[in-house]
């Protein structure tokens, strides 16, 4: 009897938690987010006297057959790929290494070490492509880059210092791995890892300040002359924090996806069961990291868009209407396929778990829901108009929406996809365990009800979103997200408690995985890479014909906004170049015979091991 009361109590409490976010945010909160001033500048009026140069087409050197914009574009994109990869690798290598210490599971340390090993060449390639990009910018866009570097002069020195620091610590960290393997020394090694990440983040944050300034310049007057000597004002432009956040998370997802593909390839070409088991586990772990980082990414993206709107409505409209709107549809397709791929991989993974049979019947329903949500997500939300039409109706597309195409529907679909992907993962996690605690029945009911209530809540909010003006639509998305997050959090906590003294139904048989499942890992890596190129283009493209938005005009012949087809070709080119170079990195790493490798690489000698994707 008392137990029933308790269960009801817990349920009511949880449902209450779900509803809290419904209490509307006050008007002030919304305004405070939107209305921050664009030009506020503190103290220190500037002594510097220079303006953004006003360029003519002739000010842009042309190098014969080289297409300036494409050259810089590809160089920047490939450099960014490598930058993202080598920033991400130390983050999760450090986390995995730490996990290894706490769980005393040797596998963690091995995988961390191996990831570091295969990424070493990538560090050099990052520097190399960075050099290429700088060279391309200096030769093809000299006046622009001089202006930007003049504004950011002091940061350039820090950037270079951080870069040198990164290189030194990176080599030390990698080569001292075995020397600092055990005991207190391991902690020194972890500290090195932390230092490596600090340098990495510094580099990222400085570069983001430059990019952010190009998007949302502050601290200069309309002619581009600095109105303050306080460099911090330029750095802390409205775009900076959201960009840092977004890139940080995306880098982890990206790095995880690339390493996952590496593991997938090694798995496929492994010949011994031990090797297969090892790489299966590595693939699973990397994929897990990638997907875990992917889940919050849409929210970070949302903050980024909100910041763009707050800074310049015009830029926001450029991004969400017109030709760029199509690219968001392309993006949705890719993210959708990433989600399907990730779920497929999890479902295949249940094959290695005894006890998972219990959940097999559920999977087809999960798959059904996810596919449905995917389709809703794909429904185009604008019928794209020509620039002239856009102008005529003032950049709005309100009249042309189809009911499934508007934001509440998209949010509902996205949250549903995330919720059910979580469910896949959740079932996977508990597949080989049988709880022994007394309240299993009640606990399961609580979980089911909570999940159901949350989903109903998400759908209800979606419908509610149709009935209210835009400001509320945006607001309705907050409780939707919170519903999703609280389900994930609370179900996981309950589940952990429930399975405390659980009986296992058998070990996870690592390596018992169909070869086909590994292709999900490749799909993920390719999708992430290409997606990054695409989103990077959108981010940069919405500046339109400006080097620095509304401050410094791009007067070069390349100032136009290219058609989508042109843009995706460049994205694909950059992706292919990156893939080839990554394969090269992994191949090089393979060549070096690594003595401390506990499992001799038999396959390495067989020639089948060119590398990986």
């Amino acid at each position: 009897m008392r137990k029933k009361g308790l269960v009801t109590g817990v349920l009511i409490f949880l449902i209450f938690l779900l509803l809290i976010p419904l209490i509307p945010l006050s008007n002030e909160t919304v305004l405070a987010q939107e209305g921050h001033s664009v030009t506020s500048v503190e103290e220190a009026p500037s002594k510097a006297t220079f303006e953004a140069p006003k360029l003519k087409p002739g000010d842009y050197p042309q190098l014969g057959w080289v297409k300036s914009r494409e050259a810089v574009w590809v160089a920047a994109q490939v450099h960014l790929f490598f930058g993202a990869f080598v920033l991400a690798v130390p983050i999760f290598v450090l986390v995995i290494e730490g996990l290894g210490i706490f769980t005393k599971d040797e596998r963690y340390d091995h995988i961390a070490h191996e990831i570091m090993k295969v990424s070493m060449t990538a560090f050099s390639l990052t520097a190399l492509t960075g050099g290429l990009l700088t060279f391309a910018l200096l030769t093809l866009y000299p006046d622009f880059i001089k202006y930007l570097m003049r504004i950011f002069q002091p940061t350039v020195i820090f950037y270079i210092l951080a870069f040198i620091g990164e290189a030194i610590v990176c080599y030390t960290y990698y080569y001292s791995w075995d020397a600092l393997r055990y005991g207190t020394k391991k902690w020194i090694h972890l500290t090195l890892g932390l230092l490596l990440n600090t340098f990495g983040m510094t580099i990222l944050f400085i570069a983001d300040a430059w990019t952010g300034f190009m998007m949302t310049p502050v601290g200069v007057d309309a002619a581009g002359a600095p109105i303050t000597d306080n460099i911090w004002v330029f750095i802390r432009n409205p775009f900076w924090i959201p960009l840092n956040l977004h890139r940080f998370i995306a880098n982890i997802a990206f790095g995880g996806a690339i390493v996952g593909a590496y593991a997938g390839y090694k798995f496929l070409s492994s010949t011994t069961p031990e090797e297969k088991a090892r790489y299966d586990w590595m693939g699973y772990t990397s994929n897990f990291i990638a997907i875990a980082a992917l889940l919050p990414l849409p929210f970070a993206g949302y903050i980024l868009m909100a910041e763009i709107y707050a800074y310049s409505q015009q830029m926001g409209i450029t991004a969400m209407g017109g030709i760029f709107a199509w690219l968001f549809i392309v993006q949705a397709t890719l993210i959708g396929s990433v989600f399907l791929g990730a779920n497929y991989y999890l479902w295949c993974g249940m094959g290695r778990i005894s006890g998972a049979e219990r959940y097999t019947p559920v999977i087809k329903y999960i798959a059904g829901v996810i596919v449905l949500a995917f389709l809703v997500w794909l429904t185009p939300h604008t019928i794209v108009m020509t620039a002239i039409e856009m102008k005529k109706i003032g950049g709005s597309h309100a009249a042309l929406l189809s009911p499934l195409g508007i934001m509440p529907a998209k949010n509902t679909a996205a949250n549903t996809m995330i919720l059910f992907t979580f469910l896949s993962f959740f079932l996977y996690r508990r597949a080989n365990k049988m709880p022994t605690v007394g309240w299993v029945g009640a606990g399961t009911v609580v979980m089911k009800v909570f999940f159901a209530v949350a989903w109903v809540n998400i759908i209800f909010l979606g419908i509610y979103g149709y009935l209210v003006p835009t400001a509320f639509k945006v607001r309705a998305s907050v409780p939707q997200v919170l519903s999703t997050l609280s389900v994930a959090l609370i179900l996981l906590i309950l589940d952990v408690i429930m399975h405390r003294k659980a009986r296992t139904l058998g070990p996870i048989q690592w390596g018992k995985m169909s070869p086909r499942s590994q292709y999900a890992l490749f799909l993920l890596a390719i999708s992430f890479t290409w997606l990054m190129a695409l989103m990077g283009y959108i981010r940069s493209g919405i500046r339109q014909h400006w080097h620095v938005y509304t401050i410094m005009r791009d007067a070069s012949p390349d100032a136009y906004t290219p058609p989508i087809g042109h843009a995706v070709l460049v994205a694909t080119t950059a992706t292919v170049i990156f893939m080839v170079l990554v394969i090269f990195c992994f191949w090089i790493a393979q060549l070096s015979t690594v003595k401390q490798e506990p499992l001799p690489e038999i396959a390495g000698a067989s020639g089948s091991r060119e590398e990986e994707r």
């Binding site: 664009v38 102008k391 003032g394 490749f522 007067a555 087809g565 990986e612």
Partner: protein, 282 residues
């Protein structure tokens, strides 16, 4: 090796799908707005084109003559056959101005609109002695006014009597004549400058903003009235919307004539400043 090839082929297929799908979407290249031309020696055609741009609001920064002289709006006389009409006006018994030629009449209409007010178009209550027309000379240089005249004269087949600027006469445009690419006009620093620059005053009134148009709602207290226009929308949001997308909501009883393109032309800083100023106009 077999695995390697399989993986490569798989990847190539995925990448191709990703690349080809967007190619099936509408392809459209959008050109940046033109860099401003050199003022200096202009051909007559180019000169008339500039006049047309002024007329249509692409140049001059006040929204264009079309703001009022759009025949659909009936706010101002339709400007047709001006080469002939201008001569006729001089013979009008009410005409008391100084012009002797059609060209001079047209110039006077822009420099001192009240010198002669077309019957029925004067400021309400002034008995056609005061013109509601903008003081164009605040926005246009003398040679640009000539360009507008050239456009009006040539538009319906009349003879153009004004000459394009030559060489460094260039309308006295030293820096433009030197071949520099004109920067976008300096951004407004105060709300007053803002209203001037974008010609809001052609239609709106705002006491502190120093504008006194009479064709559109008075904005003096828009900070409080704006909050009541649309349920659930704050004054600030409403004002943003009114400027960026004027047709989203039409004030009852008002004609839908507010031009939609303002958002394209102003800088983010200007826009934010104006919105903040208007939202505070309680």
């Amino acid at each position: 090796m077999k695995t390697f090839i399989k993986v490569i082929v798989f990847s190539a297929v995925i990448l191709s799908v990703y690349t080809i799908f967007p190619m099936t979407l509408p392809q459209q290249r959008s050109e940046p707005p033109p860099l401003e031309e050199k003022v200096g020696a202009l051909t007559m055609d180019k000169f008339i084109d500039i006049g047309k741009d002024i007329f249509e609001g692409k140049r001059g920064g006040f929204g264009g003559c079309i703001l009022c002289h759009d025949p659909k709006l009936r706010r101002a006389p339709e400007l047709v056959n001006m080469h002939a009409t201008s001569e006729d006006r001089l013979k009008d018994p009410r005409y008391k101005g100084k012009a002797k030629k059609g060209e001079e009449y047209l110039r006077e209409s822009m420099m001192e609109p009240s010198a002669f007010v077309v019957a029925g178009f004067g400021v309400a209550g002034s008995n056609d002695t005061k013109s509601p027309m903008l003081e164009i000379k605040k926005y246009l240089k003398p040679w640009e006014i000539n360009a507008a005249i050239a456009f009006l004269q040539s538009k319906d087949g009349g003879e153009v009597t004004v000459q394009p600027p030559t060489g460094d006469e260039g309308g006295g445009e030293k820096e433009a004549g030197a071949g520099a690419v004109a920067a976008p006009p300096a951004p407004a620093r105060t709300p007053q400058e803002f209203f001037q620059k974008y010609g809001c005053g052609a239609c709106h009134k705002h006491e502190k903003g120093g504008i006194a148009g009479a064709l559109a709602p008075d904005l003096t207290h828009i900070g409080s009235s704006g909050a009541k226009r649309r349920p659930g929308m704050s004054a600030r949001d409403y004002i943003r919307e009114s400027i960026l997308n004027p047709t989203a909501f039409i004030v009852p009883g008002m004609p839908p004539i507010m031009p939609p393109g303002f958002g394209d032309r102003m800088t983010a800083g200007e826009f934010e400043m104006a919105v903040a100023f208007l939202a505070d106009s309680k």
